[in-house]
């Protein structure tokens, strides 16, 4: 049976696509699935550093597409999991360097061998984006609770529909419980109302993400990270399990903590 081909996209840059790909890929590998992650952001290679694999790259996606090497040779095996691979983006070329036909050939070959092909889509809605969404059969849209990011996500939903991906899944990233409590950040319900697509997961803003990127170790492997927990839930849902959504509540402030102590709750 052919593997699932899932594109992770957002429209707006900097909302956490690459982090999401790294964590979902790693999480599926943890569950013994055979996974390949494709960095389709040609010219702005990032997934390799987030995964801590930047020193192992010899060939890249363009080499594989142009048959300079065999596809197998361009795949980088993960440090931690034998069943997790990365097809890195080329750093020296631009997004027009790969054609849709080449992209299709690569993905066809990969999905025959892997359970999951996860594509890290470039920001924007140009050629590279078009290639990435055209070869996928499922999509995950990542957004932040900010007006600009949500607007772009809405546009992406429309563009995915044009490619016959009618049920994209939403990942709502970087929620700040304190700001939501103060009414200064849109909450899950607000964004759900506006975008009206299936919610795959909510991820609290978490400093551990920056620390994990510094180290090149996905946060999903860190059991002290709230974001890591959120990603484990997301992976379970991708695998068809029904997991309740994490509650995004602010930690009690100083008075709340004092009250808790007094009341013994």
């Amino acid at each position: 049976m052919a593997g699932r081909v899932i594109v992770v996209t957002s429209g707006k840059g900097g909302v956490g696509k690459t982090t999401t790909v790294a964590n979902i890929g790693t999480g599926l590998a943890l569950r013994k699935k055979k996974v390949v992650m494709i960095d389709a952001d040609i010219g702005l290679r990032n997934l390799d550093v987030v995964m801590g694999l930047e020193n192992r790259i010899v060939f890249d996606i363009i080499d594989a597409a142009e048959k300079v090497c065999r596809l197998r040779q361009a795949l980088i095996k993960d440090k931690r999991f034998d069943n997790l691979f990365l097809l890195p983006a080329a750093q020296t070329r631009n997004k027009d360097a790969i054609s849709l036909k080449q992209m299709k050939e690569l993905v066809d070959e990969l999905k025959a061998e892997f359970d999951y092909v996860i594509i890290d889509c470039p920001a924007g809605i140009e050629h590279g984006f078009d290639n990435a969404i055209s070869v996928a059969t499922e999509a995950i849209i990542v957004t932040n609770p900010e007006v600009s990011a949500v607007r772009d996500a809405d546009r992406i939903i429309g563009l995915l529909q044009a490619k016959e991906i009618y049920e994209p899944m939403l990942v709502l990233n970087r929620l700040r419980p304190d700001m939501i409590k103060n009414g200064d950040m849109m909450d899950v319900d607000d964004i759900n109302d506006i975008l009206a697509i299936n919610l795959l997961g909510i991820i609290p803003d978490d400093e551990e993400i920056i620390i994990s990127t510094n180290k090149g170790e996905p946060a999903i492997l860190n059991h002290h990270s709230k974001a890591g927990e959120a990603f484990r839930n997301i992976v379970a849902r991708i695998e068809g399990e029904s997991v309740p959504f994490m509650s995004i509540n602010a930690e009690p402030g100083i008075f709340g903590r004092f009250w808790k102590m007094l009341s013994g709750k």
């Binding site: 607007r151 546009r155 429309g158 009414g183 849109m186 607000d190």
Partner: protein
């Protein structure tokens, strides 16, 4: 701390309601523009409905999606040529 005390006394509505409101408006326009077919279909359906009762000048007809700070509105300017006699 200063921020929290200020929030206790603030008079502005929480900024998230502005975010929701602004998004709602901007998406009405984005979606109408992106699916360029939408306004065309809407125009034809309106002509069909109205033509049962009045004869209109389709050439001069004009439909627009406008917006103010607070709401979006569909403005239709439809010149009537003749009113049909509706059967009792």
């Amino acid at each position: 701390m200063g921020l929290e005390i200020k929030k206790l006394f603030r008079e502005d509505p929480p900024s998230k309601s502005q975010a929701v409101e602004r998004l709602r408006l901007v998406l009405i326009h984005d979606r109408a523009k992106v699916s360029s077919g939408l306004m065309e279909v809407l125009r034809e359906e309106i002509i069909k409905a109205i033509s049962k009762y009045v004869e209109i000048d389709e050439e001069q007809m004009d439909i627009e999606l406008n917006s103010t700070e607070k709401q979006a509105e569909l403005v239709a300017n439809i010149p009537v040529v003749k009113v049909r006699r509706v059967l009792d």
